[in-house]
């Protein structure tokens, strides 16, 4: 931990009744690919050979179909003992095989079914066979590597023995997430607390909804708070025309505007504008200069949000190339998360990590200590309508 600033007592309370350092845990977010319920499956041919013939059969297959026709099967065991494979495959094999029961057999994946006709495969394997006809059964295997040990176990039971290699084709590598989490967990509760405090000011002043955001730069010199912004959608804005307020003045948009306005050669859009990039409260002025003086957008900065940002803000955070996002309260219209919330009412867009968007970051949901599944909402300083675009 490299924090050079602030180690407030965890039970000290601000004037708004918000503790200065929230206690809680960080839960890594899931990506859209990780939460997809569909397991992409491949049809394969499976056979069994006497144990002593195993390596010979495999080299024959390698000759016939070099590199498995381009399919990556590294996450699957090539060979598996009969008692380790799903009984459906085993039964289907023994139903057509005349193998004597005293030969010790081992099962193996021969080939992906789409790349070689079954009769050609049978012919080729038969030439290598001393006695009895070759039996090929069709089975299904997961196309992608599993993202957890539990998933590997479930797939082993359902499809074919699968290995979890701590890699993640559908999201950031677990080791990178773990390292980043160790870095931020010391002060995440402090930055979130600050975000709640400015949210309280916005709410009390009626300049916006009770939503707040803090932007932090992390360097060898510790953590620096570059922006503190409360929601300002109702600041100098008519409430009587039935809209959603000043959409451009959501807390995250303001915080981004505050940071980028200080970048070298930044020119404001117009003399007067609607973007609310000027501080509204003293708390919003109490920020530091970045260590990196010629930053680009919000490249690799950290953003701490009281509420899951709406689709607009979530994409703004992606466009601004943040490195990490932490938020506390999930929202029905939130753009960050991929898995649906408790009430199953989220959008599932998962914008924090989608390869096609050309920029991915790391992300966590903050769970306050002492909150069970039931107590989560009532422990927050106040309740914001879940349908709000935060």
């Amino acid at each position: 931990m490299t924090s050079a600033t602030f180690h407030g007592p965890s039970n000290s309370t601000t004037s708004n009744g918000i503790v200065a350092q929230l206690a809680g845990t960080l839960i890594p977010l899931k990506t859209t690919l990780e939460t997809s319920k569909d397991v992409k499956l491949l049809n394969v041919f499976i056979t069994a050979v006497p144990l002593k013939k195993a390596s010979g059969t495999l080299s024959l297959i390698r000759q016939l179909i070099p590199r498995d026709g381009g399919y990556d099967l590294q996450h699957l065991r090539r060979f598996a003992k009969p008692d380790l494979i799903p009984s459906a495959i085993r039964n289907s094999y023994f139903a057509s095989s005349a193998e004597s029961s005293d030969t010790e057999l081992i099962f193996l994946i021969v080939a992906v079914a789409s790349i070689i006709p079954k009769d050609i495969l049978l012919d080729s394997l038969q030439k290598d066979r001393v006695e009895g006809p070759v039996v090929l059964v069709e089975g299904q295997i997961p196309f992608n590597a599993p993202t957890s040990a539990e998933q590997a176990k479930a797939w082993t039971n359902e499809y074919w023995p699968t290995v979890y290699k701590k890699s993640n084709p559908f999201g950031p590598h677990p080791a990178i997430v773990a390292r980043a989490q160790a870095e931020i967990e010391g002060n995440a509760g402090k930055w979130l607390s600050l975000a709640w405090t400015v949210a309280a000011e916005a709410k009390t002043a009626r300049t916006g909804e009770g939503v707040g955001v803090v932007i932090v730069e992390r360097s060898e010199q510790g953590e620096r708070c570059l922006a503190v912004a409360g929601d300002a959608r109702w600041d100098n804005w008519p409430r009587d025309c039935g809209g959603n307020g000043n959409v451009t003045a959501h807390a995250a948009m303001r915080a981004i505007a505050m940071v980028t306005a200080k970048l070298p050669n930044a020119i404001p859009v117009t003399e007067t504008d609607i973007f609310r990039s000027q501080p509204l409260f003293s708390l919003e002025t109490d920020v530091e200069e970045p260590v990196n003086k010629d930053g680009y957008l919000c490249h690799e900065l950290e953003i701490y949000c009281t509420h899951e940002p709406c689709v607009m803000c979530a994409m703004a955070i992606v466009h601004s190339r943040f490195g990490k996002i932490v938020f506390e309260k999930r929202m029905d219209e939130g753009g960050i998360t991929a898995d649906l919330n408790d009430k199953n009412d989220g959008l599932g867009h998962g914008l924090w990590w989608r390869r096609e968007l050309n920029w991915t970051m790391l992300g966590w949901e903050f769970r306050r200590k002492g909150d069970g599944n039931d107590g989560n909402e009532c422990r927050l300083p106040w309740d914001v309508d879940n349908g709000l675009n935060a």
Partner: protein, 193 residues
């Protein structure tokens, strides 16, 4: 759609293209838009300003809405509910959500945005905030493919221009301007006819 209506939309789209051209001249990604009101006419214009402001969120749509609502303004925010946006490139996910929250009535765009598009390219924010079901409050109509080729040629001119500006210019072959545009693909098939 009548030929007259079609010509009207094309005229507005040319106004949007003029904004993109302006962006190109100032080294901004050439995306331009106009906001059109049925009785007040063109009430806002915008072009990408991410380079000038150093703020990656300052897309043409934000600039145009700012132009309409920044003080002193003769309009209240609810005017956008009566307006149509003409933009040279499909609104990104961020802007599609901005438009949804401000209650825009209809969007006409030129080229599809397969990387960031929020009205069909990647997500359908205009339909139930991307839930895939329409009929929700805030939903808006979208029509793509208007002066698509012109919008794409503009983007290509930008990339050539920026490459030449870069300290180490890329290989000559890469700098040759590709002006022919592939025919409208299936994905962006909601075209001009």
């Amino acid at each position: 759609m009548s030929e007259d209506e079609k010509q009207t939309h094309l005229t507005y789209m040319r106004e949007a293209l003029a904004m993109a051209e302006l962006a190109l001249q100032t080294s901004e990604t050439p995306v331009g838009c106009i906001i059109q009101h049925p009785t007040h006419g063109t009430i806002g214009r915008g072009m990408n300003a991410t380079n000038r402001t150093r703020n990656g969120t300052m897309h043409a749509e934000f600039i145009a809405i700012n132009q309409i609502l920044a003080p002193p303004s003769q309009y209240t925010p609810d005017i956008l509910k009566e307006c149509t946006l003409y933009v040279t490139v499909e609104p990104c996910i961020m802007c599609a959500s901005l438009l949804r929250q401000f209650g825009i009535k209809k969007v006409f765009f030129g080229a599809s945005n397969e990387k960031f598009g929020g009205t069909g390219g990647v997500l359908d924010v205009h339909l139930g905030n991307g839930r895939g079901i329409g009929g929700k409050e805030g939903d808006y109509e979208v029509s793509g493919g208007w002066l698509r080729e012109e919008a794409i040629v503009m983007l290509r001119r930008f990339y050539v221009q920026e490459n030449e500006r870069a300290p180490e210019p890329r290989k000559k072959a890469e700098r040759v301007l590709k002006l022919e545009v592939e025919p409208l693909g299936e994905l962006s098939g909601n075209g001009v006819d």
